[in-house]
Amino acid sequence: MDGIHDLGGKQGFGRVAPEADEPAFHARWEARVFAMLRAARAAGAVQNTDQFRHAIERIDPVAYLTNGYYGRWLGGIETLLREAGVLDEAAIQSRLIELGGDPDMPAAARPAERPNRVPPSTAPGSRREVAAPARFAVGDRVRTRSQGSAGHTRLPGYARGRIGRIVLHHGGWVFPDTNAHGLGEEPQHLYTVAFTGETLWGADAEPGVVVSLDLFEPYLEPADDD
C-alpha cells in the first residue's frame, strides 16, 4: 500500500540523529512490546511476519511517524490482537483508565472491520521450493512494475517502473504480497536488483551510487536492451 511506511526517497526529515552508547531498549515498555509480539504469535493473532508488517503499515500514519519503532509495533500488535478477537477495545480502554491513562488519547491501531483469516505458516522460515524455473539470471536487465498495490508489497515506491540489473538470485521465498493477507505463501524467485542513482533520482543523483533492492519475480519484467 502507498502508506507512510514507504519512506525511501521522501524528503524533509532532516538530519539523522545517532545517539551515543544507545541501550538495546530505552525503557521497560519497549521490551514489554517485544515480549508481547511473542505472545501474540503464540495466541495465533500474528501468524507470519508479512501479516505483522502489514498491520504496522495500516496503523494511523501520524502515529507511525511520532510513536517510534516500539510504538509502531504496539499499534500493529494491538491491531492484530483485536482482529483475532483476543482483546477488544472496551477491555483495553477500561484497563487504560484504571492505570491512569487518558481515555481520549487515540490509539494507533487500525483493526479492519472484516479482517483476513491468515492460516499458520506451513514451515519455519521463509525459504521455499519454487516449482517454476527462474525467469531471470544474474546480469539480466529488468524493469520493475509501475503500479502500486492496495495491499502489502515489498516493492518500494521509489523503485517502481525503473530499469535495473539482476546481481543475485536467492532461490524461492514466501511471497509477502499474498502471505500477508492469508492468500497463501505462493513462493517466488527472489533477486537482488541493482539500480544506478541516476535511474532512481535523475539529475539530482549523487555521483557513483548504486542502490540494490531484493525484489520478487512478479515485480519484474524483462527490459529490452535499447
Binding site: 519512506l7 525503557a27 514489554r32 505472545a39 508488517r53 511517524l65 510513536n67 504496539l74 487518558d102 557513483g208
Partner: protein, 196 residues
C-alpha cells in the same frame, strides 16, 4: 541500562503497552517475567559483539573471509548465534574503491543475530528516507568522508535477505589477535555508517 519504568517523560504508548500486557497476562498468554528474558537476551547475548567476532575472524583468516563473502549464512553457522533475522545473510566487503551501507526503507529489517537490535536512528524516518537518495551526504553527517572516486553501494533490505558490511581492517592492527581485533569493530562500521 535504562529499563526502569519510573522515569519521567514516558510516552502515552508506554501506558497502553502496560494495559495490553496486563490483559495478556490475565488471559494466560504472557508471563510477567517474559520482559526480563527479552532484556537479558538483547543486552547480554545478542548484539554487535557477535558481528565483531565474525569481522575479526574474516580479517585474520583468508579462507573464512572467502566463505563469508560467498555464503554468509553458512559461514556464521559455526558461531551458533541466536537472535534470528539471518535466514539468509549476505556480507558485503568495503574496499578502497567501494563503500557499502545497509538500510531498510520499508520497515527496519536488520541482521539481529550478528548486530543485535537496530539503533533508533536506523529505524527512524530520516535515515530510511535519505540514505537511498543522498548516501554521500548522510555518510558525511556520520563523519564518513569518502573520496569522490569511491563508489557507494546502498543495500535496501526489502525482503528476508539481511546484509552486513565487512569493514576494511584499520591500519596499524597487524599482530593483534581475534579478540583484540573484535574490540575495534563498531556496530556502525558493520552497517556502513562508520569507518574504522
Amino acid at each position: 541500562m535504562t529499563t526502569d519504568d519510573h522515569e519521567h517523560d514516558l510516552p502515552p504508548q508506554a501506558l497502553r503497552a502496560e494495559a495490553l500486557e496486563s490483559l495478556l497476562i490475565e488471559r494466560g498468554l504472557l508471563t510477567a517475567d517474559a520482559v526480563d528474558e527479552v532484556i537479558a537476551t538483547y543486552n547480554e547475548r545478542v548484539g554487535p559483539m557477535n558481528g565483531a567476532r565474525v569481522v575479526a575472524r574474516a580479517w585474520l583468516d583468508p579462507a573464512f573471509r572467502e566463505r563469508l563473502l560467498a555464503d554468509g549464512t553458512a559461514a556464521i553457522a559455526e558461531f551458533g548465534f541466536e537472535g534470528g533475522q539471518t535466514e539468509k545473510l549476505v556480507v558485503v566487503e568495503n574496499t578502497p574503491e567501494v563503500h557499502n551501507v545497509v538500510v531498510c526503507t520499508l520497515c527496519s529489517c536488520y541482521p539481529w543475530a550478528v548486530l543485535g537490535l537496530p539503533p533508533r536512528w536506523y529505524k527512524d524516518p530520516a535515515y530510511r528516507s535519505r540514505v537511498v537518495r543522498e548516501p554521500r551526504r548522510v555518510l558525511e553527517e556520520f563523519g564518513v568522508r569518502l573520496p569522490a572516486s569511491t563508489r557507494i553501494r546502498v543495500w535496501d533490505s526489502s525482503a528476508e535477505v539481511r546484509y552486513m558490511v565487512l569493514p576494511q581492517r584499520p591500519v596499524g592492527t597487524e599482530g593483534l589477535g581475534e579478540a583484540e581485533l573484535a574490540a575495534r569493530v563498531t556496530r556502525d562500521s558493520m552497517i556502513g555508517t562508520a569507518l574504522l
